[in-house]
């Protein structure tokens, strides 16, 4: 199951690359050579974005979510739980942070397992039992072990780059850039088609980004169980999250994908655009593991 999930993620990332290629091709078809100049600019912006998210993601996320790092003496119980999962997984002890928010939630960030950080809201620490919290920590440490924090940063910046590229090209279309080349590229069907691609590509990129994130959530659940060998703990934790209706106060969409439970109100986001698989599906998958084990 984990191998299949990993393959799908690679497929989705490849889809991202293909989409970028199609956008570039469409741009070149539409504008001829004058569109070429924009490509290195967009690629450059994307690279800076990836580089920035690689080195600064943990600090940026801390600022955006208002999480504060804590020491062992602040919460020995939480540290004990995280150490348990680290021993089970053989991972290094991450930094631990707290977000003061009554909504139960948690997230992981950091560019690699050596620079990981996991954060919990005060709400999740209050409502969850020992086993449930252990399941949540195992889920977050799975994101660290599977390098999801890196993959999602790359996916987000690629989606962003496609959006910028397509936006700039669409503008150029209205402001004369296209007129010069219209004679040399006389096939109207091809032009309409390119135009369609430029408009639709950003939407497709967002869809792909959500799909990558959703695959990663299911994979992290499975990896978490391989650490704790206790699907019941994480299942109970997800049930607590499913029952709970409060959502994390800051609802910025750009950091929505890092939380264990989506902070966005689920009724306003359709399943296709959602960064998380429905919590009931995840609970059912964990129940299936329990009956096996």
């Amino acid at each position: 199951m984990q191998a299949a999930n990993r393959r799908k993620t690679i497929g989705l990332l490849a889809g991202m690359g293909l989409l970028t290629g199609i956008v570039v091709y469409a741009a070149l078809t539409y504008f001829g050579s004058s569109g070429v100049a924009i490509v290195p600019v967009a690629v450059g912006i994307a690279l800076i974005g990836v580089w920035g998210s690689y080195y600064g993601s943990d600090k940026l996320v801390l600022t955006m979510t208002g999480a504060k790092e804590i020491q062992e003496s602040d919460n020995p119980k939480l540290f004990g739980l995280v150490q348990e999962v680290c021993i089970a997984s053989g991972l290094k002890l991450p930094k631990i942070a707290i977000v003061v928010d009554s909504a139960p939630n948690a997230f992981a960030t950091g560019r690699n397992p050596e620079h990981a950080l996991i954060a919990f809201t005060t709400g999740i620490l209050d409502v969850m039992e020992r086993d449930e919290l252990q399941g949540v920590i195992a889920h977050e440490m799975s994101h660290v072990a599977n390098r999801d924090t890196l993959v999602s940063a790359v996916a987000a910046t690629t989606a962003g780059a496609i959006a910028i590229l397509s936006d700039v090209l669409t503008r150029m279309m209205w402001f004369g850039g296209a007129r010069r080349n219209r004679d040399s590229n006389s096939n109207p069907l091809l032009i309409v088609f390119s135009l369609l691609i430029l408009v639709l590509a950003p939407i497709a990129a967002v869809l792909l980004k959500s799909a990558i994130s959703r695959k990663r959530e299911s994979l992290a659940d499975a990896t978490a169980v391989s650490f704790t060998r206790n699907p019941a703990g994480l299942r109970a934790a997800l049930e607590v999250l499913a029952r709970d209706s409060t959502v994390v106060q800051q609802r910025s969409t750009s950091v929505a994908h890092i939380w264990i439970e989506s902070p966005l109100d689920s009724s306003s986001v359709s399943k296709l655009f959602s960064t998380h698989p429905p919590i009931q599906e995840r609970i059912a998958a964990l129940r299936a593991m329990e009956s096996l084990g």
């Binding site: 020995p76 119980k77 004990g80 739980l81 150490q83 348990e84 999962v85 021993i87 089970a88 997984s89 053989g90 020992r130 252990q134 704790t228 060998r229």
Partner: protein, 183 residues
């Protein structure tokens, strides 16, 4: 040209040998590290016991047999050295500690004391750490043993002086129970 090809092939073979050798050494080191982790966690648990026994004694004076069982098991655990001995002593101590916590259930004052509560939390996290380090050790032993017994790595186990290792198996009546299967 021919000599270059021959040299190239030789270099590839040497690289292949080195890779197999290093894989065995790496797996062996991983098992050693996992074993060290078990010892660290067992030591931690052992250090917790005197404090725990004293605290329970303060409230439950008439439970001498339970205290003795814990103290004997702890003494055995500190002298054990081979994997099988350590595992057996670990199982005994786990049982004895369970008995001690069961005794504590009968004393509401004890159960409510802040000292006992923090000791209990520390004991449960340490028990989990022991269990997880055991699990991590066994996973590493499994990888090592597979490598030692399968082609091509098995050809190098002699040169690398790496052999199969013993699994850490705990005699725990609770985990030996047949799982409840419902259809």
């Amino acid at each position: 040209m021919k000599t270059l090809i021959v040299l190239g092939i030789l270099a590839l073979i040497v690289l292949f040998f080195i890779a197999q050798y290093n894989k065995l050494i790496r797996l062996n080191i991983a098992v050693n590290e996992a074993w060290a982790q078990i010892e660290v966690q067992l030591k931690r648990r052992s250090d917790l016991i005197p404090n725990l026994v004293e605290t329970v004694k303060g409230y439950a004076t008439h439970e001498k047999t339970t205290f003795d069982a814990v103290i004997t098991a702890r003494a055995k655990a500190t002298t054990a050295s081979t994997v099988a001995d350590v595992a057996a002593a670990d199982g005994m101590l786990t049982q004895a500690l369970r008995g001690l916590l069961a005794v504590a259930e009968a004393y509401p004052d004890l159960k409510a004391s802040a000292n006992f509560l923090s000791l209990q939390e520390e004991l449960s996290t340490t028990e989990n750490k022991v269990a997880f380090s055991r699990q991590f050790y066994n996973d590493n032993v499994r990888s090592l043993n597979t490598a030692v017994k399968t082609v091509p790595t098995n050809l190098f186990s002699g040169i690398a002086k790496v052999s199969t290792r013993e699994f850490y198996e705990v005699e725990d009546p609770q985990s030996r129970q047949a799982p409840n299967v419902k259809f």
